[in-house]
Amino acid sequence: MLISEKHKLADIIPHDFRLIPIIARFDIPFGFGDKTIHQICEEKNINLYFFLEIINAFHDQNYKPDKQLQKFSLTVTVDYLLKSHRYYKAEKIPYINHLIEKLIWTKPEHVKNKSLITKFFTQYKNEVETHTKFEEKIIYPYVLEVEQAMLTNSISDEFKHKLSNSPVAKYKGEHEELNAALFDLKNIIIKYLPPADNSEITIRILTEIFRLEEDMKDHTHIEDKVLIPKVQNIENELLNRL
């Protein structure tokens, strides 16, 4: 279904509970009574149309947000992406890590499993850390600079240099790598890892990985299909002005 500004947010969540972390990313606290999405966005000073595009894109895989999302300022988009980074790094990944630490194997021949899976996840965690740091320190600031240059129509010599060595084009492949690691972890647990003694923890880990994977796919979709094409359009325009 298409979620619109007239819907009550309290009606939407039971309809698709996967939206809970997305809504949290916009700093909307619970206890919002019967307020509509329109009212909530107005109160919290959230860009209503951006909010609708994001939740519709997440809610319905066939929803095509790209054209609409292109209209929003890069600042709004970057702000959202930063918040999802924070969610992955401060909440999701530590929680999965915590669950992995709780896994128990008692048979001597299975003791190595714990360190294997812990090591694999630590490596993944480090990769996410490196990748998001790169985006937060290099890509996003550059993106905002591009937007600023477009708005103020002023291009410093230093920025001119950056523009002709744009960092955005080449980093797309990294997303695939990160998603591949989650894909592997899922298959290793489902197909190959001898079952742990506390299987209820395994079930929780798998569920969490599937959710994280879904969330990240949506995140990289916004980066690859919305953010980067828009930045590249502006880059071209700026280069033409030079």
Binding site: K112, I117, F120, A180, D184
Partner: protein
């Protein structure tokens, strides 16, 4: 590296309602299939440039002018099956160059039956083969990958070309469902292909 063992369907029709309806039937029939949609001839050509679908479901109206040989015009892979999406009347004779036809006012069961008839003619899929299905050579490559060697190093060590190493790695990933080198290392240790330390 992509793991591609799912059946791929492409639906080419101008009508959103028809595409969505066919997608629904396909999803119910094969929940594991990959389904792509396109509404224009240009979109279809683009899709066909990068992939060869197992089955292309296509409304004949989308073509406009053709030389008559649709397969040739669109450069469709010889192994891809073609199903025509036709309007209210099912033609009695076969539409040239199409393997089958589905008619938009047929019921779900009939359309599913037609799909099934076509899918059964496709070569057998080995979606999830056992590890034992790794060939001797693939196990050799897997061991070296797990030990952290690069493709070039593996090629030199096993006396094969880098190209062959890459193709072995693709096959290993497809068979095991593991894409990254560290994932393959975990697998190799779990299965005693290499030992810790």
């Amino acid at each position: 590296m992509s793991v591609h063992t799912k059946l791929l369907f492409i639906i080419a029709d101008k009508s959103y309602l028809i595409r969505s309806g066919i997608r629904k039937i396909l999803e119910d029939y094969r929940p594991d299939a990959e389904i792509r949609e396109t509404e224009t001839m240009i979109g279809l050509k683009q899709a066909l440039r990068s992939t060869a679908p197992d089955v292309l479901l296509c409304n004949v109206k989308i073509f406009g002018k053709t030389s008559g040989n649709i397969r040739k015009d669109l450069n469709i892979n010889i192994n891809s099956k073609l199903i025509a999406i036709v309007g209210s009347m099912r033609c009695n004779e076969k539409i040239s160059f199409f393997d089958e036809q589905i008619c938009i006012d047929e019921d779900k069961a009939t359309i599913t039956e037609t799909l099934n008839k076509i899918v059964e003619t496709l070569p057998e899929r080995t979606d999830t083969p056992d590890t034992s299905d790794l060939t001797e050579r693939e196990r050799d490559v897997l061991r070296e990958v797990a030990l952290g060697k690069s493709n070039k190093e593996i090629a030199d060590y096993l006396n094969i070309s880098t190209h062959t190493v890459i193709s072995h790695r693709k096959n290993i990933s497809n068979k095991l469902g593991i894409k990254t080198a560290s994932g393959l290392t975990v697998y190799a240790i779990l299965n005693n292909i290499i030992t810790l330390n």
